[in-house]
Symmetry: C2
Subunit: 460 residues, 2 copies
């Protein structure tokens, strides 16, 4: 039997697309996603296991895909490969409002879980701009962080348990629903952030948190990141409100976003060297606004605040958030601009940005990066103002500027986007060799035939 009929026979409840059908579909954020010979969309863990066994027996490799919003090519496929699309496992199976736990299928979009949790005044505690498309399984597999990580941790800190299909088709089932477990090696952490190279995550038990009743948003102009961090520390120390978000936009990024989005000048304080977006949760909107006002007034001089605006309406708060989140505006100005995602230890943000500005200019006098990100955890997103992809040697030179000394200082060359294909060189050049050797040994032990997403993270 040829491949497609055999696949259909082996996965009776699954949707199967061949390469012709794939070519007519939207591959998501990465044109390489749909290079495979076929896509199979099972509807449950057993179905995924059947697909894995089919592929393992025939020496076919398998690439798991969720919302296809990944930014490092971790879901890219080539001819001969099979896509395991988790879109059929897209159910919020259970919300336990008393235990504050959700059980969800890996293919569930984040926004669907957010809505289901909100019905119980709960929240998954992780939020990111791609919320409408990205899936829980994909977020687990890249250890997504997003806007609230500084307070709630990354995906790794939200996962209580998970179920995954291993490369031999056996099912690793650990749907623990409690936070505290010290019952032997906590092996679920191997699958979190492994980008589908060690197993395919099919179901997840997640912590939920009670949401603050209301919130208020401010946009604050500051001279530098250190000033913005003083403001953040001030609000973190206040127990009467809850800091929901602290996002930073360097001026060049803010100005470009403003141009593209067409906000009227003067409407928002956009001229400062850095802009800080603050969201504060409280028991009422009035309390949140008042606390923002009082807090900013108290820290105004010490932090050297240039200007500030507290959103007086939902529409104004949304305008502030669009300025931060509609980052596809940058991609409208530049075709596939080289983009990066680093974690910088808190004290070093201003020095880091000054260093890369200079280093990039030394490569090309026209280079002027757009920089923005999650201030309270030091996660910066950086795009270069040029069309991509750039030649390999140039890309490496840019990476050298951006990643130099980052690991040694305790930062990370990939904060929340993962390694995939596109950061594999960086991984090989910047990660401790002892760690790389151990990672490779684990990959070879768990997936000796290299069935699962070969060549991602670790060269195959």
């Amino acid at each position: 039997m040829s491949l497609l009929p055999s696949l259909r026979a082996a996965c009776p409840n699954a949707t199967v697309w061949d390469s012709t059908e794939l070519a007519s579909r939207d591959p998501g954020f990465d044109a390489r996603n749909f290079g495979a010979t076929a896509l199979v969309r099972p509807v449950d863990t057993t179905g995924v296991a059947a697909l894995v066994k089919f592929c393992a027996a025939r020496g076919l490799s398998l690439v798991a895909q969720g919302g296809r919003t990944g930014l490092t090519g971790a879901a890219a496929t080539v001819e001969g490969q099979i896509i395991c699309d988790l879109g059929g496992l897209n159910r919020v199976e259970e919300i336990d409002p008393f235990a504050r736990v959700a059980i969800v299928g890996a293919g569930t979009p984040l926004s669907v879980l957010q809505e289901a949790a909100a019905a119980h005044a709960l929240d998954p505690g992780i939020d990111l701009a791609a919320r409408g498309s990205c899936t829980i399984g994909g977020m687990v597999s890249t250890n997504a962080g997003g806007i609230m990580a500084f307070r709630n941790g990354t995906m790794r800190h939200r996962v209580l348990g998970l179920e995954a299909v291993l490369p031999d088709g056996s099912i690793f089932s650990d749907l623990t629903r409690v936070l505290k477990t010290s019952a032997g090696y906590d092996l679920k952490h191997l699958f979190i952030g492994a980008e589908g190279t060690l197993g395919i995550v099919t179901r997840v038990a997640l912590r939920l948190d009670p949401v603050a009743g209301a919130s208020a948003t401010a946009l604050v102009g500051v001279p530098d990141a250190a000033s913005a961090q003083r403001i953040v520390r001030h609000f973190l120390e206040r127990t009467q409100t809850r800091l929901n978000a602290a996002e930073i936009l360097w001026q060049r990024f803010a100005a470009a976003m403003n141009r593209m989005l067409g906000f009227a000048p003067g409407q928002l304080p956009l001229d400062a060297p850095c802009l800080l977006v603050l969201e504060l949760g409280a028991d009422s909107v009035e309390a949140a606004r008042e606390a923002l006002e009082d807090g900013l007034a108290a820290i105004w001089e010490e932090a050297g605040i240039v200007d500030g605006l507290i959103a007086s309406s939902v529409a104004q708060a949304e305008a502030i958030w669009r300025l931060r989140e509609e980052t596809e505006m940058i991609e409208r100005m530049h075709h596939l601009p080289p983009s990066f995602d680093v974690s910088v230890p808190a004290g070093g943000l201003d020095a880091y940005v000054a260093r890369i500005e200079a280093g990039l200019k030394a490569i090309d006098a026209t280079y002027a990066p757009y920089v923005f990100g999650h201030l309270a955890d030091g996660n910066l997103h950086i795009s270069i103002n040029t069309d991509g992809p750039v030649p390999h040697a140039l890309h490496e030179a840019i990476e050298d500027v951006l990643y130099e000394g980052l690991q040694a200082s305790g930062g990370s060359f990939s904060a929340e986007h993962g390694v995939g294909l596109d950061k594999r060189d960086a991984y090989e050049r910047h990660v401790d060799p002892v760690k790389q050797a151990l990672a490779r040994a684990i990959k070879e032990m768990i997936d000796p035939a290299n069935v699962m997403n070969p060549g991602k993270i670790i060269a195959g």
Copy 2:
């Protein structure tokens, strides 16, 4: 050269004790801790690596020890083994108040780190009764949880990076200082909770959190755990204060503690079926007390509160906490009572306690467990009112009652004490076989000669 002189030559900066010296010393919480042939106390990671290489070359096995406060025999040693005492790595190397990060040696006691952090109005976010003795390395190795885990997570969620010596003497160095990293497999999680079987943790980078300015404590009598949980949910939803602790004491435990500690009757509301200890953080003591009063009043009827007391002084708050924390009182009434540490999914606490009361009574009509624990994360500590150790078959029968259905319901037979030697049978009987097989394969790959703490967690 015989063993001791060779050890001293191989580890020139380390303190070395032979078995005679060990016999004259305090072995800590477990009499089995000092059964080894020798103890070596290096002063840095390089010294630990030298000791590991020495042992690996001679086929000697090595058991890491911190504060020797473990409760499952994970640090027990026998003749022929060498103890690697981390007490020489007991420095708070750095507190970065700006980044809210601490770098500490594995042998640092928790209370020492708490004090160093408090000088910057910061806190490691984990607290437990053994704070004066337990060490950061031991807490990492058992994934300790304690009182604040429901809010801040367990040790696993607090560790940003760590350094560990592998069984071949190589050094795994990942002193990441940022929260967000998605740069390949996050292998530090293999060492967290591994009880020293995969490597010896030597240095740790930990998150610190700003502390609430002030707090207030209440003792609340309630009819059952469900009622206590309604109270907790009420306070978790309020953003104007921060719930620091929510501990539950079932009546039998509270009454025994009260008898032993000699509190005068009537002074505290001790007659209810369950007692809830609440600690609320706020910007001032007055605000915390007021929020406790308002919150309890608001939920009083709905939660069916029997009685309540808000501590009006530091001394009274301490008295309430002694009632919860001085659990060695139970050990004064019974010699080595069989003790357990389970996580129960939130909705099932009352049914669980009722079921084990009945099940234990069916084994022995005199059995009446002392039950207390961390309400907000479902972590219960249980001691049986009998002298121990009890015969193996009886112990197993007790475990069957306590652990029945626990894993299947999403709970854990070991919440925060680990597996060690004493819960290995339970591990083998209750953990998913696929998970056990994967754990064993990882142990055999990383430590093929079984140098590191053999026989703990996984039978060697």
